[in-house]
Amino acid sequence: MAADFRRGRLTPLGWAALVIGAALMLAPLTWAVLLSLKDNAALVGHSEAALHGPYTLDNYVAIFGNSLTTRWLLNSTIVALGQTAGVLILASLAGYGFARLDFPFRRTLFVIVLIGLAVPSQAVILPQHELFAWLHLHNSYPGLILPGLIAPFGVFFMTTYMRGIPRELDEAAMLDGASRWTTFWKVILPLTVPAQSTLAVFTFLGAWNDYWWPLISATRSDMYTLTVGLAAAQMNYAQTSGLGYLMAQAVFASIPIFIVYIIFQKQIVRAMAGTAV
C-alpha cells in the first residue's frame, strides 16, 4: 500500500483505512474546540451540550483577561525561536566540523554526542537546576533557552547530512579560492536547507511544548512560558468545572504549532518519511 500511496493511487480499502484513521485523530481535536466554545456552566454535569449551540467566545476572552497571558505567549515565542536559532547554528557548525574537519579526538567526541542521544533530560535535571541556580540564570531567558541548545540529535543529524554532500564540492570551492568559512557559508550550508528546516520544525515544536524545565526554572510568573502559565492559571485539578475555559487554553496554546505545521507541512512529511536524511 505504501508504494501505491506514493504514486498517489489508493485501493478502496486503503481509502477507508485512511478516512477512519483521520476521523479518529480529528475527533478529540474537534471535541476540544467545541467544548472551548461553550459557556462553562452549561457544561457542568453534561459535556455533550457542546454538540449544539449556543456557542460563545467568552472563554477566549477570559484567557486574555489574565493580564499575563500575552507575556507568556511572548516568553514562549522568545524561548522557542531562541532555541531553534541556537540549535541550527550550533548543529550546523558542529556537523560541518565532524563531517569535514580533521581534529584530535574527533571520533571520541562524536561517540560522546551519540551517547548524548541516549541520556534522557530527566536524568540530568537536578544537576542542571543546581548549575543554573549557581549561575543565577533561573527566571531569565538565557536560563530558559540554554538547556535546549544541548542538541545531540541536531549535531548527529547535521553531521550525517553534511557527510552526504560530495567532497568534490569542497574541493571545487578550494580550487575556486574559497576560504573554509566561505566554503561552509556559501557552498555547504545552502545545500543543507532541507535538513535545516526539518531540524528547525522539530526544535521549535519541542521547545514550544516543553513543560518540565520552564516549570523548574521559571518561578516568577512573568517568566512563565505559555505551557507553565496556562497550567498554573488553571488551578482546577479535578477538571470538573471550567471545562470550556480549560479547552480554550489548550486550543489557544496549540495555535502557533498549528501554524508551524501548515507552513512547514512539506518538511514535516518529508522528515517523517525519512527522505530528508
Binding site: 560530495p166 574541493e171 580550487l175 579560492g177 574559497a178 556559501k186 545552502p190
Partner: protein, 363 residues
C-alpha cells in the same frame, strides 16, 4: 618557458605507495594526457598538482614558480572534476562567478569573462539555470566554462568524457580539441581511454605501477612502446607477444618463434642485450592473412571479428601460440579454418627479458 614541472614526486596512502619518483616537464600550451589503467594513480597525481593532495616528497613548479606549498586557489590552476562538481544551488552564472569573486576580480571583468566563455561554449541560454536543470553534456560544458573564466595557467581535466554517452563523447572530444586551440595554457587530461588520449594529446604520459612508463607523442607511443606494458596497453586489440629465440647473426635481429617461423626484423641487432631470449611484438596489421604462396606461417582460426573497415582474426599457430592477424574487410573466414599468415618482420617489435622494447630505426 616550461609550463608544469614535476620533480621526484612521491605519494603513499598509509603504507601503500601510489606514486614513486614522478618527474615530468610540460611545454607551454601543451596538451598532455595521463593514460593508464584504473587505480594507477592518475587522479592522485592530478590532485597533487591541484593541491588537493600533498605529496610526500618532490616539488611542483608552474611557469617558474614553485606551487606545491601554495593552497589550491592560489596555484593558477583550474580543474574540471570527473563528476563536474558544480554547485547545485547556484545558477550557471554564479557557478562561474564564484571563483572570480573569491579572487576579487572586478565585477565588469567577471561579467565579460562569463559572457565570453558562454559564447565559446554555446551555453548562453543556460546561464540562469541550475545544474539540476541541465543534461550531462550541458553540465560538462558548464564545468569547462567554470575553469575557462579563471584564465588559469594550467587546466586539469579528470576523465572529462567518462560520464558522457558515446555520441556525446565524440562530439565533446572535438570540442576539447578546438578549445585547446583557444586557450593560452597547458592542459592535462586524465583518461583511461587510449583513443581519447591518442586523438587529443600532443604528448601522452603512460602511467602504471606507481610511475611514468613512457612520455611521448601519440604515434611514438604507438610505434615505439618503451616496454611491454605500454605495448599492450596502447593499441586495440593489444599487441601479440610471442616468445622468440635470437637466430643467425646479421645487422638486424632475426628471431625464431615456437612454430619454427623465422622473422627478420628491422631492429638493429647491436642494440639488444646479450641474451638469446626475447619476445616478438606483433600488432595485427603486421600479421596478414595471405594465400599459401606468400605465407610465413600456418594457423587455425579461433574467432573472427568483423569491424567493418577491417577484419581481425584471432588464431593459433602450430605450436598453440595465440596470434592476432588482419584480413581484408570482406573476409570469408570462419572458426576452425586453416589459414596461411604472413608476418611482416619490418613492422615487428622486440622486447627483452625485462620487458624493455626495441624498434626499427627511423619510423
Amino acid at each position: 618557458m616550461a609550463s608544469l614541472e614535476l620533480k621526484g614526486v612521491r605519494k603513499s596512502f598509509g603504507s601503500t605507495l601510489i606514486l614513486e619518483d614522478v618527474s615530468l616537464t610540460l611545454d607551454a600550451r601543451e596538451f598532455v594526457a595521463f593514460l593508464g589503467p584504473s587505480g594507477s594513480g592518475k587522479s592522485t597525481l592530478l590532485r597533487i598538482i591541484a593541491g588537493l593532495e600533498t605529496a610526500d616528497a618532490g616539488e611542483v613548479w608552474l611557469e617558474s614558480f614553485r606551487i606545491d606549498p601554495l593552497p589550491p586557489g592560489e596555484r593558477g590552476v583550474a580543474m574540471v572534476f570527473q563528476h563536474y562538481a558544480l554547485y547545485p544551488h547556484m545558477s550557471v552564472r554564479e557557478n562561474m562567478a564564484f571563483g572570480l569573486r573569491n579572487a576579487r576580480v572586478p565585477k565588469d571583468e567577471i561579467e565579460r569573462r562569463i559572457a565570453d566563455a558562454a559564447r565559446v561554449l554555446e551555453i548562453e541560454p543556460l546561464l540562469d539555470r541550475k545544474p539540476g536543470e541541465m543534461s550531462g553534456g550541458q553540465r560538462q560544458r558548464v564545468a569547462i566554462g567554470r575553469a575557462l573564466v579563471k584564465e588559469p595557467k594550467l587546466f586539469l581535466l579528470d576523465e572529462p568524457l567518462s560520464n558522457l554517452d558515446a555520441a556525446l563523447r565524440l562530439r565533446t572530444r572535438v570540442e576539447l580539441a578546438q578549445l585547446k586551440q583557444r586557450v593560452d595554457a597547458a592542459v592535462i587530461m586524465v583518461t583511461h581511454d587510449q583513443a581519447e588520449a591518442m586523438t587529443l594529446a600532443d604528448r601522452i604520459v603512460v602511467i602504471n605501477d606507481r610511475t611514468i612508463q613512457q612520455v611521448g607523442p601519440p604515434m611514438e607511443i604507438y610505434n615505439r612502446p618503451a616496454n611491454v606494458f605500454v605495448a599492450q596497453f596502447v593499441g586495440s586489440p593489444a599487441m601479440t607477444l610471442v616468445p622468440a629465440q635470437l637466430a643467425e647473426n646479421g645487422d638486424y635481429a632475426t628471431l625464431k618463434i615456437g612454430d619454427g617461423t623465422v622473422v627478420e626484423t628491422r631492429v638493429p641487432r647491436d642494440r639488444l642485450p646479450p641474451s638469446a631470449h626475447f619476445r616478438l611484438g606483433l600488432r595485427p596489421e603486421a600479421v596478414r592473412v595471405v594465400g599459401s604462396g606468400e605465407a610465413t606461417s600456418k594457423a587455425k582460426v579461433e574467432l573472427v571479428e568483423r569491424l567493418g573497415e577491417r577484419t581481425l582474426v584471432y588464431a593459433r599457430l602450430g605450436d598453440g601460440q595465440p596470434i592476432t592477424a588482419e584480413d581484408q574487410r570482406d573476409s570469408r573466414l570462419k572458426i576452425g579454418d586453416e589459414i596461411a599468415l604472413r608476418i611482416d618482420g619490418a613492422a615487428a617489435h622486440v622486447f627483452d627479458a625485462d620487458g624493455a622494447g626495441y624498434h626499427r630505426t627511423g619510423a
